[in-house]
Subunit: 276 residues, 3 copies
């Protein structure tokens, strides 16, 4: 592929307008997520408690913005001020939950539709991460941790509001914390945030911004599709294991085990040398 044409495509991806098509794709996947989270009783629940169903769905749709706003002292409800977006979201919810004979749901679950929606959602996610990092960088130009947190939350807000989302539906699952077993989305948003910060704040990445952005979009879409189509779920696992082995106790713990209790003195003197 011609590098210039490639850069052109990248520039166009950066400037993509999100409303309404990408919003619809995002909403479809959110509605499917809520419906699957409800399990077998989803249809009954949606008939009995339409308000709780709609509210928890809205929380999922606008999770990233709401949580990020809450943490940055901006109005939590602000993402709801865009009335056309609200109407689109509500229509999608209605179609997925209430169409006769569940046609809406069946279409949404139809593999090609799901694949297209997922790809679009990943493009949207990348934009959200980038917006989050940029916004945080404007507020706190030197607070890298805040940029990472906001970028990650904007990208995968729904993961972090899952507890509240379920609580709205009267279900409480305290062990389902995202922090305990971060999903692939959380990890990839975290990595994307770090890359955006490196691109913005340092000279380490010499590629033009559009290319960096496009690269992350491709990464997001590629792994999403391979997750749906091939069942590969988390390419970060080997890196994590390596990191844990190197820094979070793995090596030291094994060494302590090898030397055992009998040779504890030797082990201690060795370790003491290393900590100096």
């Amino acid at each position: 592929m011609d590098p210039e044409a490639f850069l052109d495509v990248a520039n166009q991806v950066v400037k993509l307008k999100m409303f309404p098509y990408f919003d619809i794709a995002h909403c479809v996947l959110c509605a499917l997520h809520v419906r699957e989270d409800l399990g077998a009783g989803a249809q009954q629940f949606s008939r009995k408690h339409p308000m709780a169903c709609w509210l928890s769905y809205m929380l999922v749709v606008f999770a990233g913005g709401m949580v990020a706003n809450g943490l940055l002292a901006e109005p939590i409800l602000a993402p709801l001020k865009n009335t056309p977006q609200l109407i689109v979201a509500t229509l999608v919810w209605y179609v997925i939950f209430y169409t006769p004979l569940d046609i809406g749901y069946k279409i949404g679950k139809f593999l090609p539709v799901k694949v297209v929606c997922s790809a679009m959602k990943e493009i949207y996610r990348c934009k959200k991460v980038y917006d989050g990092v940029t916004h945080a960088a404007k507020l706190y130009p030197n607070a890298y941790l805040i940029m990472i947190i906001i970028g990650t939350l904007k990208g995968n807000g729904a993961g972090f509001t899952r507890l509240i989302e379920r609580l709205i539906r009267g279900v409480w699952t305290p062990t389902a914390m995202e922090f305990m077993q971060p999903s692939f989305y959380t990890k990839s948003c975290l990595v994307a945030s770090i890359i955006f910060i490196l691109d913005k704040k340092t000279e380490l990445i010499s590629a033009p911004h559009a290319l960096v952005y496009f690269g992350i979009v491709i990464f997001f879409v590629y792994f999403k599709l391979s997750s749906i189509l091939l069942g590969i779920h988390d390419p970060f696992v080997p890196f994590e294991n390596l990191l844990c082995a190197l820094f979070f106790g793995g090596i030291w713990d094994s060494m302590a085990k090898i030397f055992g209790r009998g040779q504890i003195k030797e082990g201690e003197s060795k370790d003491a040398k290393k900590t100096n």
Copy 2:
């Protein structure tokens, strides 16, 4: 009744000063609510944990303002800045919980006292809903959903903070979400918010503002009193059932049932026609 005199009364109701009498009525009912929520062990609890008791009571009293502020990025503690109001609230709490031989509680529960307090609280509630809608409309002139949410929360904040209120007292009841089974107050505040928005933003309601306001006050007081005196609890139920039957699956589900599995093809083609 003379229409002009009626309008005069309405105008006076709009301008009613709330502090201190309406505040006292509100506080009395909040204290009774906390005490009843504590059940049989209320007195013992208030002796052992006065601080938790007082804090959860304060949360109930100022719930609407606090939650609305939290969602609009205004200081959650701001409702506590009015020291005279705080002192009145604390005194009411003391009288209901700690007077000798429980005289305060018995007076508060005495039917005529309760009726008067309830009527006053409903007038107060109407003012809060109106203030909430107005405030949200100032911040987001086109965000109707935000106005409705803030109006409803200001009107029936205590319903939405119940989980936190109980948590302060060390009790966790995740299934008691207001969204799952919205109380009559939530529904009526929602309807009142919508009417206020129609009055403010559209030309649909031609009556003068004072009359609209007064009408809602009468509606609130009337249903509150009929709930206390006659045991009518929720005049919205028939409308809800109708709504559910029309829009949230009722009809389609019944049709799908009637046509059954045997004639599923016919049903599908029929539905397909209707969705066009």
Copy 3:
């Protein structure tokens, strides 16, 4: 001791720079707290879930600032904007959790180290309470309750975020509310806040500000050390019992008991007289 020299010392304590030594002491104790809260499985947990471990530790370290900011509509994440402080906190966490053969943890738990850290943390705590009261007083010059709340939260934030801290680690203990059984820290921060307010807003305390501040520091350090070394846990208990007996039902309840059901009429008339 020479009074002037004493005032000199007091003035120096007021102006003490907190970063980095006091921060380190604070972080060490926070890390020990998280580790002890994890119980026997602490080491395993820190190996399996380093992110949840780190996040819940960070919440403990910055609890006071975050909660106070959340309640005053300031950015909850703002305490994380200070990157050097973050790095120090992360290093301390790493040393306590991951050093080979647990040397970091063992050093942290070594009594003399713990005593020094505790004393430093109490000096830090006093500064935080004072800063909290001052900050709230700037925002709401007449809202004494808000000043007390913010002062107490800044001083003992970790007590109030315990539920969230545990939730991040996937554990939910709704009965562990600080309000139900306030710890000594909460009570002493509350008292310190009230003294600071009296010093700032009234003429009741004629001593110079530095002396008042120093007095509170001494009080904090003294009781912390006596708690570690002598096992005295809560010098407020007798005062609380007195308060409860006087104001929160103690006397009235006993009297009602003494007069009993048989003489209830007499009791009632007596009480009625007293309430006049």
